[in-house]
Amino acid sequence: MRIAVQSAPFDAAAEIAGFGAGTNAGALVTFTGLVRDDSGRMQALELEHYPGMTERAIAKIAEEAMTRWSLADCLVIHRFGRLTVGEPIMMVATAARHRAAAFEAAEFLMDYLKSRAPFWKKEISPDGTCWVAAKASDEDALTRW
């Protein structure tokens, strides 16, 4: 299990090289989130976080996923600071014996990271800056777990 909270960019492809190797896992799932520009006017995304609590919250979520789906391995990388459109914000990877467990664990991690890891997104455009509001659908997504 590896967790990284960092401002530096990361290369999703490089991060998963060798992931799950030597574990007899049959299924690897990755999710990578990229900065999306829905308005067509975004210049940057600023991610604020709560140092200390962020790492603890992510570790707790990842440990729960490891246990609940008997994962062979689990990786979470989440950036903070200033990001530009198209850049990777975060990624999760899961390794399990079977595909259902690897998919479910990755979706669980994403649902919890969205609403339970202390990050806040601010969109920066020529029109000004705007805090991204939490979506009710993201909170609702937790009820399935």
């Binding site: 989130g33 604020e48 709560y50 200390g52 609590m53 603890r56 919250a57 989440h78 914000i89 975060m90 994403m110 990271l113 969205k114 609403s115 339970r116 890891a117 202390p118 990050f119 806040w120 997104k121 601010k122 805090w131 991204v132 509001a133 939490a134 993201d138 909170e139």
Partner: protein
């Protein structure tokens, strides 16, 4: 004395990221009431606590939680990670 930290628009409205507060508040809600009574910028930030979240010593908590033994209280809007 307790450390109080603010994030995102709560931090922006109150105008500072962190402060040490002399308080005898028994619960988070009591602390919110004390701070809101201090200045308008606090009252504005805490106007609707249903739009806020609180963490006690870096664990998500509730507004009716007791503050006894707590060293750090954090106020912030719902999280938008991922």
């Amino acid at each position: 004395m307790i450390d109080v930290v603010y994030f995102a628009w709560v931090r922006e409205r109150i105008g500072l990221p962190r402060e040490r507060v002399e308080t005898r508040a028994a619960t988070v809600a009591d602390l919110v009431a004390e701070l809101s009574a201090r200045e308008e910028r606090y009252a504005a930030a805490f106007a609707d606590i249903s739009a806020l979240r609180v963490a006690l010593d870096q664990e998500l908590s509730e507004f009716d939680a007791p503050l006894a033994g707590v060293r750090e209280v954090a106020f912030f809007p719902p999280m938008t990670g991922g």
